[in-house]
Subunit: 258 residues, 2 copies
């Protein structure tokens, strides 16, 4: 049997992702029975939004099929213990945390691989969910729930997820940091707006859906244009940390085509 018998869900936490997930579950016909959160203002706002009861203390948590810990990575082990008496499946939604950070009898991971922004709608249908369960039944139930809200649901071990999270740091967090470098270089040295780079940034991100990054690579390092690379390093002469990054990534590109 496919699908999931998960119907009643408790959300623990009142951050950005707690809001987005709670709404998605509700849209999929699930019942959010409670929102458990230390932040009373946010917790009550979320509870009201999804017609749930607000609870400040885990001890008063009602019966449910699933408890979703939408809390910070470091809080997961501690919060898991607060629900150790509970019969529900307890999941965390973290890319960087192993499943065994949870102590509950039935537990798993329900990790949406996406960057979420407060106030900006999320298209969960296109968001990959990575699923792990401490038993085949838990994995099956979480997979079914994932499929209720997304078209991209994958099983992934804690080790897979660790490397996936590392890959995401390079592809997303670090790319964003490089956009920030570009913005500063523009603002400091030109009269042109950073927005002039938006179409290029979009196209670069889109291109790798059709071409592997290696085939899509362009630029001075790819062409081995030492003259331009030397001139660009000279432009960075007062910013040793940017020179380091320029040289390290250029070297990496060149090694790829050596």
């Amino acid at each position: 049997m496919s699908g999931s018998s998960i119907h009643k869900i408790v959300i623990v936490g009142s951050g950005n992702l707690a809001f987005h997930l709670a709404e998605a579950f509700q849209l999929a016909g699930k019942e959010i029975v409670a929102v458990v959160a230390r932040n009373e203002t946010e917790g009550k706002t979320l509870a009201q939004k999804v017609s749930a009861t607000y609870i400040s203390n885990a001890q008063n948590c009602p019966a449910a099929d699933l408890i979703v810990l939408a809390v910070s990575d470091s809080a997961i082990p501690e919060v898991s213990k607060h629900f150790s008496h509970h019969q529900a499946i307890v999941v965390h939604i973290s890319g960087a945390t192993a499943m065994d950070a949870l102590v509950n009898e039935q537990h798993g991971v329900f990790y949406p691989l996406q960057s979420f922004t407060k106030g900006k709608p999320v298209n969960f249908r296109e968001t990959p969910f990575l699923i792990e369960g401490n038993s085949p039944d838990v994995a099956r139930q979480l997979t079914g729930l994932g499929q209720n809200i997304s078209n991209q649901v994958y099983p992934a071990s804690s080790l897979d997820r660790r490397y996936l999270h590392l890959a995401a740091v390079f592809a997303s967090n670090f790319s964003n940091a490089l956009y920030g470098v570009a913005e500063k270089l523009m603002n400091k040295n030109t009269t042109l707006p950073f927005s002039i780079l938006h179409p290029l940034i979009q196209e670069t991100a889109l291109k790798i859906q059709q071409l592997a990054p290696k085939a899509a690579q362009t630029g001075p390092a790819r062409r081995g244009d030492e003259q331009i690379m030397k001139a660009q390093l000279e432009l960075l002469k007062d910013q040793a940390e940017l020179q380091d990054i320029y040289q390290a990534i250029s070297k990496l590109i060149q090694q790829n085509y050596a």
Copy 2:
């Protein structure tokens, strides 16, 4: 007077961008009078596509209002000389090359800031064009031509363009290299496809249209999560060059929020 009196255009070169630009000019009602290219096969293909004459030798170049040097950066000074007898405005289309690489009496720069892929259609309307002319009249004419094919036309000095090109290397070439790192990490260490990261990569690139990169930054370095950073460096322990990049960019992110 705004607009441009440029009507007859010669394209020099038969690469990817020569094809895209020639077609865009033609669609805007311009006449491509000749394609000058050493590569006979590609040159003839392009000439035929835009109903132009193919010419292998610059000496036989017909009269025109504009000659577009769509050649490699390093070839620009040399090729410019081949047209030194010509009355037309001569432009290059390079981000990294100063305007004074051109020797012609009337010359300028007509630089489209985008990443072009052979066979993939380009939306020039949304592509920023950076314009420079060696006289106000040349700048005006090139601006008018730019506006015929794009909604985003900006004046930019050679120095502005130099920094813009450096910014583009960080924002585009280096981001793509990081996508490549992510792909390798996934392929080597997980059973998950790299495509699982596509939605995150798209969203990261889209987000900076609404939020400045600094506000959009997320991840372990942003949160100052030393434990995760240490664990991720450990995963890279056999790849010193990736550790270097991880540390350099993480340090940069942390400095931004110190």
